[in-house]
């Protein structure tokens, strides 16, 4: 099924974006990325450490020909640091994609909307495709669209919690009120939740912990692939309207209850 997701001049053929953190080892991560069918994965920047050279993912990911890299700005405490991280990331990724994330509080890892907004303005001017990780706030989403973000990525629940689409009602409003793609990032645990996000009209989901922390990450990545494809197909098919009153799906003629 040819149903690409486009951001200006970039085209993705999978609506499942994958994070590369928390995997037990590089081999498991690569197997999961392949099984997911994704063509966009996130990576983080860290200081070079010769003693941990095996953590360097550039080599392994470069072997995946069709997979683009989207550096994130994790570790940034404010807009200035995030912009610097984005510039560094672009040097390596050779891609315009940047996952803008600024979450200074390690206890809840919730995004700082003010710093995120300020960084987004500058990064959009610098020709990045800015995909900001944000609270599920329709007003903020609209403001980020207005300053040129390529998408918005509201959280389903806090990072790594696996509490699913706890913000579903706000995400519905964001989908209704913004023109750029809405991508649920963070909080998902089960492929059914990814399917639900796509059924609601999200254009994609970004999943990391749910796959990396599964008993079998490769199999879970494949399950998320199916979930996303199913949800997208359902959204395109058009879900039936809901109704307060029951509506019978079989004829209710009373031919069985004769009075004779």
């Amino acid at each position: 099924m040819n149903d690409p997701l486009t951001f200006q001049n970039e085209t993705l053929h999978s609506r499942l974006l994958i994070g590369t953190g928390k995997f037990a080892n590089v081999e498991t991560m690569i197997a999961a990325v392949k099984a997911s069918g994704t063509d966009l994965v996130t990576v983080a920047l860290r200081r070079f450490n010769k003693a941990q050279a095996e953590d360097d993912l550039y080599g392994p990911l470069a072997q995946l020909e069709k997979v683009k890299l989207m550096p994130n700005t994790s570790g940034a405490m404010n807009a200035k640091e995030a912009i610097r991280a984005a510039m560094l990331g672009r040097e390596l990724s050779k891609s315009r994609f940047i996952k803008l994330e600024i979450h200074p509080n390690p206890h809840h890892l919730l995004p700082d909307p003010i710093e995120t907004y300020e960084a987004a303005i500058e990064l959009a001017k610098q020709d990045f495709l800015v995909l900001p990780y944000i609270p599920a706030d329709p007003v903020l989403a609209k403001r980020l669209e207005d300053v040129g973000c390529a998408a918005v990525m509201p959280l389903g629940a806090a990072i790594g919690t696996g509490k699913g689409l706890s913000t579903a009602e706000m995400i519905r409003i964001i989908i209704r009120d913004t023109q750029v793609p809405v991508i649920v990032d963070a909080g998902l645990r089960a492929p059914s939740e990814a399917a639900q996000a796509l059924e609601m009209g999200c254009e994609a989901v970004l999943v990391n912990s749910a796959i990396a922390a599964a008993e079998d990450p490769e199999a879970m990545a494949a399950a998320f692939k199916t979930g996303v494809e199913s949800g997208r197909a359902a959204w395109k098919a058009g879900l039936m309207p809901t109704s307060e009153a029951a509506v019978a799906s079989s004829p209710l003629t009373s031919f069985l209850s004769r009075d004779d």
């Binding site: 994070g19 590369t20 953190g21 928390k22 995997f23 991560m29 996130t42 990576v43 983080a44 920047l45 860290r46 200081r47 070079f48 450490n49 010769k50 953590d55 360097d56 993912l57 550039y58 080599g59 990911l61 890299l69 550096p71 994130n72 994790s74 610097r84 510039m87 560094l88 990331g89 040097e91 390596l92 990724s93 990072i159 963070a186 970004l206 990391n208 912990s209």
Partner: protein
């Protein structure tokens, strides 16, 4: 002289460009992004920057992240 390399003091004897520093450290250059005193330096310019006393160099690589 001494520079600050990834936040730690690092002694250097003689003149070094950024490129020479990376080669000394046996860093995979294609896998690396560099900052010098807070500014991102593109790989095409690494050979032009000669390090000075107390320069702050950050050598960054991609690792797993969500």
């Amino acid at each position: 002289m001494q520079i600050i390399l990834n936040g730690e003091p690092h002694p250097l004897e003689g003149d070094y460009t950024l490129l020479a520093l990376l080669e000394t450290l046996e860093v995979e250059k294609e896998h690396t992004a560099l900052m010098l005193n807070g500014a991102v330096i593109p790989a095409t310019s690494w050979h032009k920057h000669i390090l000075k006393e107390n320069d702050e160099v950050e050598i960054m690589v991609f690792v797993g992240g969500g």
